[in-house]
Homo-oligomer: 455 residues x 2
């Protein structure tokens, strides 16, 4: 007889991963290299090191090393909020009346409220190791900024966050969390930077954009001795750090001899999805096992399902390197849906290559159906999910209902990336029946894609 | 050699408590009975059953039974968010440079954001068992209302929450969490009740008070067939349910052969403190062990440290039974400090008796020093604490610094009741240097106490 599965599977501290896993090492078709937008040549380490920490550049460019040891200091920090629980969704299963077995890896039990802390602490660590004074970054809704503030506070690094002005003004709570951790938070565009001054001169009333905030953060990092720029998603290094999610998930499943059939994650830039699926994808790439892997994106920003696979700018300001990825075009402006973390025009180049090679599926879901799933989940499982995470919930429920129809006892694992405590304006709109679904027209997407850089 | 202590001690599911512990059974001097405010006679079960669920009335009045089995359904729900971790505060110890060993029991990892859920689920369960349709309650800042909404959603009970109007308007986020769980939330005073109508007629512009919201919730419960009123603190039944905190804490410490010297909890109505200390106080009452037990209250609402031990009304509306307790007088209006959960004029009658008998210490701390402690804690331990919980942090830090002075390796355990995600307005005031300390004058307290009911 198999062991009884507890509601929550926690690893012991000594069972926690000691190394991150790099999927690229097992990929036959490696992700395409970053290109210098000026020359069109692959970016060299030296070029990247002006912007990013040196050790992180190494991780970014290394397509061969399968395992990177997690430094002791980072493992110590991980122990403060990890292992995260792998939860058996007994109550959700009962509510759905499905024979499927549903598990979710819950990354929200920390003050940043999401999985972002897993990479923030790693990036802060390497900045500290390099003897830097501080780092800069941008943040929209503030999850990444919060995570980075916490990490910098721990390592006593200065943290300069450029926060999109409209969020700075409308979401003061995340700003205050960042201030609690000692970060300086500047509304963007600001008068701190040339790019900020230029934009303010041209558009005095602008409330900012993520693209502009990135440009400001990069300008300050490059122009200030002892500073580097850090980013919370999209990059290979971020997926590497986030592999801790998948490694813990797999270790917890292995403890109880559970093999998942379907693995589901929400996808914006790909940090959570890439981390969650890592060790499973590794087995799939090596031909050892097969899994269905499903990326879930918002219908309002459908880079996998309606984008094109091509080289594009990572930022709207078009100052960063070119990355080959599924993209809607760097000029695509996603509708103001409430899953801020998924409003990104492109996708991790690693995940893009895997998707192109048929290793993953993707689907898009509409905002209102995502909130219906979120509310049902909150009521039966207790946790108030972030809108981003709720995309994965929606897909997991759909798959579980298919199992019910077909009377199949499949095992579904999904990533519950975070909590929705700072997203209650969105929940309010949903309760009041005034939430809209945004779906870009074919013409809109085609027009944006037509402006991709010519190489 | 002793076992290495992990950062977080989690019990296994089969190590979780199967019964609540009732401190009153081991008290030589039992807490004084509730009195009927009309007759001055002890309240009988029949009188209380019009307001409260029958099984809860039994628990309320039972001073002899030491253990109450936790029903299977409640234990199942507990497994969704418990066991809560007992955390070794390695980083805080290092920051303080103290030889003391500091542990905290963290109750904030659930959507209600606090320990309140432990009793909410029990009270909802007994209401369901009794075949009731729903329950009513009041809420100020909304923690208790949120917890009750979650519990009622789980058992498919109707939940009517009367929320102090000023909070309803100024704190829409907690209101939205309650709506997510299907509760009806009514700003109080309302036109639903006679007492509400009366108050609105007399004071058309009033923004409400907890006393008024209690009166409305009680009126609706008593006047609606199939409804009862429930309360989140002060009562014996609540302390009984909250003993799960202390029982888990003790089991986790026992696993590693740790005996605490000092146990610290914040105290408003006493639900968290009473729960945390229960099994330790039991040993102390039975003469088996000794512990220093410290209640920490806000200087703005110091019922233990500056109140008097006497019979008083539990509510400001003076409709509820009289309870013998440390009180500042039911007419005492606490200054608008930011620890809403500690702004109560009285104290649990059980804790009051224990304090009167010398089994506990109490101290009061000022708001700004509480936030200083909160910020330091957030930075080193990662968790953003609730203002209420931060009272315990402040006292724990003070005790740890005394250990440093005296080079004593004491073991300190404190209760970290919840998170501060909905308290960022308070943090903002603190960061902006505009937070005030409120300390009532001796005259103010004397004047309030002079109005205690004459028996």
């Amino acid at each position: 007889m198999s062991k009884e599965i507890p509601y929550k599977i926690y690893l012991e501290e000594d069972e926690m991963p000691k190394a991150w896993y790099n999927m690229r090492a097992d990929m036959k078709n490696k992700p395409a290299p970053l290109l210098n937008p000026g020359t069109g040549a692959p970016m060299k380490a030296e070029e990247l090191e002006g912007v990013f920490c040196s050790e992180l550049v190494k991780q970014e460019l290394d397509n061969d090393t399968a395992y990177f040891e997690i430094p002791e200091e980072i493992r110590k920090f991980y122990k403060m909020y990890r292992p995260s629980p792998l939860v058996r969704a007994y109550c959700l299963e009962k509510k759905l009346g499905t024979p499927a077995k549903i598990y979710y890896k819950f990354e929200g039990n920390n003050t940043s409220g999401s999985h972002k802390l897993n990479s923030a602490i790693a990036q802060a660590y390497y900045a500290k190791q390099q003897g830097l004074k501080g780092v800069t970054t941008e943040t929209g809704a503030g999850q990444w900024g919060t995570a980075l503030s916490m990490a910098c506070s721990y390592f006593d690094l200065d943290c300069k966050v450029y926060m999109v002005k409209v969020s700075y003004e409308q979401k003061p709570f995340r700003r205050e969390v960042m201030r609690t951790y000692g970060a300086s938070v500047t509304p963007s565009p600001s008068m701190d930077t040339e790019v900020g001054k230029k934009i303010l001169a041209e558009h005095p009333g602008t409330t900012g954009s993520l693209g502009c905030a990135i440009s400001e953060a990069v300008e300050v990092a490059v122009g200030t001795p002892g500073y580097r720029y850090v980013l919370g998603s999209v990059l290979n290094q971020v997926l590497l750090h986030q592999s801790v999610i998948g490694l813990e998930t797999k270790a917890a499943l292995d403890k109880y001899d559970i093999t998942p059939d379907i693995i589901i994650g929400c996808a914006g830039g790909g940090s959570n999805l890439g981390g969650l699926i890592s060790p499973f994808m590794g087995e799939k790439l090596r031909g050892e096992k097969d899994y269905r892997i499903i990326a879930v994106e918002p219908a309002s920003c459908p880079s996998f399902t309606r984008g094109t696979y091509a080289y594009d700018f990572c930022d709207t300001g078009m100052v960063c390197p070119l990355s080959k990825m599924y993209t809607l075009g760097s000029g695509f402006i996603p509708a103001p849906n409430h899953a801020g973390g998924l409003r990104y025009h492109g996708m991790s180049s690693t995940l893009s290559q895997l998707y192109a090679d048929g290793y993953m599926e993707a689907r898009s879901v509409k905002q209102t159906e995502v909130f219906e799933a979120a509310e049902m989940f909150a009521r039966v499982e207790g946790i108030l999910p972030a809108p981003e995470s709720s995309h994965a919930i929606k897909a997991a429920i759909d798959e579980a209902l298919k199992c019910k129809e077909n009377n199949e006892e499949k095992t579904i694992v999904f990533g519950l990336t975070g909590t929705g405590y700072f997203d209650l304006v969105a929940y309010e709109k949903f309760h009041d029946g005034v939430m809209e679904d945004y779906i870009p027209s074919d013409e809109e997407i085609a027009a944006s894609i037509a402006k991709l850089p010519k190489l």
